[in-house]
C-alpha cells in the first residue's frame, strides 16, 4: 500500500496540491484574522493618518 502510494504517477501531484492548498488556506485565515480586528471606538487610538487628520 505504502509503495503504491509513493510509486503511482499522479498521486505525487495530489500530495503536492494537498500540502499547498492547506498552507494557502491557513495563511488566508491568518490574514483574515488580522483584517477582521474590530475598529477602536476612539479614533484617536488608530494610526491611520487620514483618520488623525480628520
Amino acid at each position: 500500500m505504502a509503495y503504491w502510494f509513493i510509486n503511482t504517477p499522479g498521486i505525487g501531484s495530489i500530495i503536492v496540491f494537498a500540502v499547498g492548498i492547506s498552507v494557502f488556506i491557513a495563511y488566508l485565515r491568518m490574514l483574515r484574522w488580522i483584517q477582521t480586528t474590530p475598529p477602536d471606538p476612539d479614533p484617536k487610538n488608530e494610526t491611520s493618518t487620514s483618520d488623525v487628520d480628520k
Binding site: G10, S13, I15, V16, Y27, T37, N45, E46, T49, D53
Partner: protein, 451 residues
C-alpha cells in the same frame, strides 16, 4: 499606541521620496535591464522553437547552466527569510532598516529560480509533466512541495510587515496616480492600525518568522537531495544537504549586501542603512565564509582520500583538470577575498563589503556550476568523459534571468518603500524608552552611591 502625526517625519520624507519622484538614471537602468531581459526572452523563444539542441546539453551532461541558476537562485532566496527571520526572532534591533530588502530578494529569487526549471524542460508545455507523471518517491516532487510552501510563506512574510506601510501610503500619497492609490488601498485591506490590530499583526509576523526558518532549511536540503539521491560521483554524499544550506545563506547575505548598497546609494538611505548594518552583516558573511570553507574541505578531503575511481576522476577534473581554473577562482572568491577584505573593521564599510559580496556572488555561482556539470561529464555508467560548454543561448537566457531579477527588484521598490517605516519608528521608540530607563537607573544609583 501613538497616532501618526499629520506632518511627515524625516524618515518618511526620505523613504517615500523615490516613490514620488523618478530620476533620469532610473529610466536608463530600467531601459538597460529591459533590453537584456528581451534578449533573454528572444533566446528562450528560439530554444522553444528549435529544442534543447541549441544548448550545450547532451548525453551524458543533461544538466548545465539552467540547473546551476536554479540552485543559485534558490540559495539566494535564503537571504530574506533566514536573515530577516533569525534576526527578528533574536530581536536584533539593527535589522529593522534592512529586513524588507532581504524579504524582497527572497521572493524575487524564488520566482527566477523556479523559472529555471521550466526553461530547462525545453518546451513550455512540459511544465505539466511532473504533475501527470510525478511519483512521490522522486525528490523532484519533494522539491515541488517544499519550494511551493516556501514561496507562499515568503510572499506572506514580505506582505505582512508591508501592511501598515501600505495604509500609510494610502493616506499619505493621495497625489499618486490612480492605479497606485487603488493598489495601496486594496493591499492595505482596510488597515486602521489600532492596538489590537497591531498585536495581531505582530503575532502573525512572529509565527511566520518561526515557521519560515525550518521551511527554508528544508528547501535547500531537498534541492541537494535531487543530486544526492542519484549515484553520480560527488553527488551521492551525506554532507550535501548542510553544504547546500550553508552555501545558500552565504550567497544570500552577499546578495543582500549587493542590493542593500545599490539601493542605499540610489534611494539616499545612508541615514538609516549605516555602519552598524555593514559591520554586523560583514561579520556574518565572514563567519559563513569560514563555514563554507570548512564544508568544502570536508567534502573534498573525504573524496580525495578515497580510491573510488569515478569519484577521484571528478575530484581530479575539479582540482587539477579542465575545471581547475574555475575551482581555484571559486576558492579565491569565496574564501581569500572575503577574508582579506572583511577581517579588518575598516573593510566592513559599504565599499569593502560591496567588493566582498560581489566576489562571493561570482564564487557561489561557480560553486553551483562545479557541483552540477563536472559530475555529469564523468558519470558512473559506461560513458566516455564528456565536455560541456554552455552555448550562446544559455548565456543569453542566464543574462536575461539575472536582469529580470534586478528589474523586478527595482520596480518593486519604485512602488513600495524600501525601509519598513513603522518598524524603524517602533525601533526608535524602543531606543527612547531604553535611554530613559538608563537615565532613571543612573539617577537612582547616585544617592545610593553617595550613601
Amino acid at each position: 499606541m501613538t497616532s501618526i502625526p499629520s506632518r511627515e517625519s524625516e524618515l518618511e520624507r526620505i523613504v517615500l521620496a523615490p516613490l514620488r519622484r523618478t530620476s533620469k538614471q532610473f529610466y536608463v537602468v530600467l531601459a538597460g535591464l529591459s533590453l537584456v531581459v528581451l534578449l533573454g526572452a528572444a533566446a528562450l523563444a528560439n530554444q522553444w522553437r528549435l529544442g534543447l539542441g541549441v544548448t550545450g546539453l547532451n548525453r551524458p551532461v543533461y544538466w548545465g547552466v539552467y540547473i546551476t541558476n536554479f540552485v543559485f537562485f534558490i540559495g539566494i532566496s535564503h537571504a530574506g527569510t533566514l536573515i530577516s527571520a533569525i534576526l527578528r526572532v533574536t530581536q536584533a534591533e539593527w535589522r529593522r532598516p534592512i529586513t524588507r530588502i532581504a524579504e524582497a530578494i527572497t521572493f524575487f529569487a524564488l520566482i527566477i529560480g523556479m523559472l529555471q526549471v521550466w526553461i530547462d524542460m525545453g518546451r513550455p508545455e512540459r511544465i505539466i509533466f511532473p504533475f501527470i507523471f510525478g511519483r512521490f518517491q522522486s525528490p523532484f516532487l519533494w522539491d515541488f512541495t517544499c519550494v511551493g510552501v516556501y514561496f507562499m510563506s515568503s510572499m506572506l512574510y514580505l506582505y505582512l510587515p508591508l501592511v501598515p506601510d501600505l495604509a500609510r501610503l494610502r493616506d499619505r500619497m493621495t497625489d499618486a496616480p490612480r492605479w497606485r492609490h487603488w493598489l495601496y488601498t486594496v493591499m492595505s485591506f482596510g488597515w486602521h492600525g489600532n492596538a489590537e490590530q497591531h498585536r495581531r499583526l505582530e503575532i502573525a509576523i512572529g509565527i511566520m518568522a518561526i515557521v519560515i526558518i525550518p521551511v527554508a532549511v528544508s528547501v535547500h536540503t531537498v534541492v541537494s537531495w535531487i543530486f544526492g539521491m542519484t549515484m553520480q560521483p560527488m553527488w551521492h554524499s551525506t554532507i550535501l544537504g548542510p553544504y547546500f544550506v550553508v552555501g545558500a545563506i552565504f550567497s544570500g547575505i552577499a546578495m543582500l549586501f549587493l542590493f542593500m548598497t545599490l539601493l542605499r546609494r540610489a534611494w539616499h538611505l545612508e541615514l538609516w542603512i549605516g555602519e552598524k548594518q555593514y559591520n554586523y552583516l560583514g561579520i556574518l558573511l565572514l563567519v559563513m565564509s569560514a563555514f563554507w570553507g570548512y564544508f568544502t574541505l570536508a567534502e573534498f578531503l573525504t573524496t580525495g582520500y578515497s580510491t573510488i575511481t569515478n569519484e577521484t576522476a571528478v575530484f581530479h577534473a575539479k582540482l587539477l583538470g579542465e575545471y581547475a581554473p574555475a575551482f581555484w577562482a571559486m576558492v579565491t572568491a569565496n574564501l581569500v577575498i572575503p577574508f582579506a577584505v572583511l577581517m579588518r573593521r575598516q573593510g566592513r564599510k559599504p565599499l569593502g563589503t560591496f567588493i566582498a559580496a560581489l566576489s562571493v556572488i561570482i564564487g557561489m555561482w561557480i560553486e553551483r556550476f562545479l557541483i552540477v556539470a563536472p559530475s555529469l561529464t564523468r558519470p558512473s555508467l559506461g560513458f566516455m568523459p564528456a565536455v560541456y560548454t554552455p552555448s550562446l543561448t544559455e548565456v543569453a537566457i542566464t543574462a536575461g534571468s539575472f536582469a529580470l531579477f534586478a528589474l523586478l527588484f527595482l520596480l518593486f521598490f519604485k512602488v513600495f518603500p524600501a525601509i519598513s517605516v513603522w518598524e524603524v519608528e517602533e525601533g526608535q521608540a524602543v531606543e527612547a524608552v531604553r535611554q530613559k530607563a538608563r537615565e532613571l537607573a543612573h539617577e537612582g544609583a547616585q544617592p545610593a552611591l553617595r550613601s
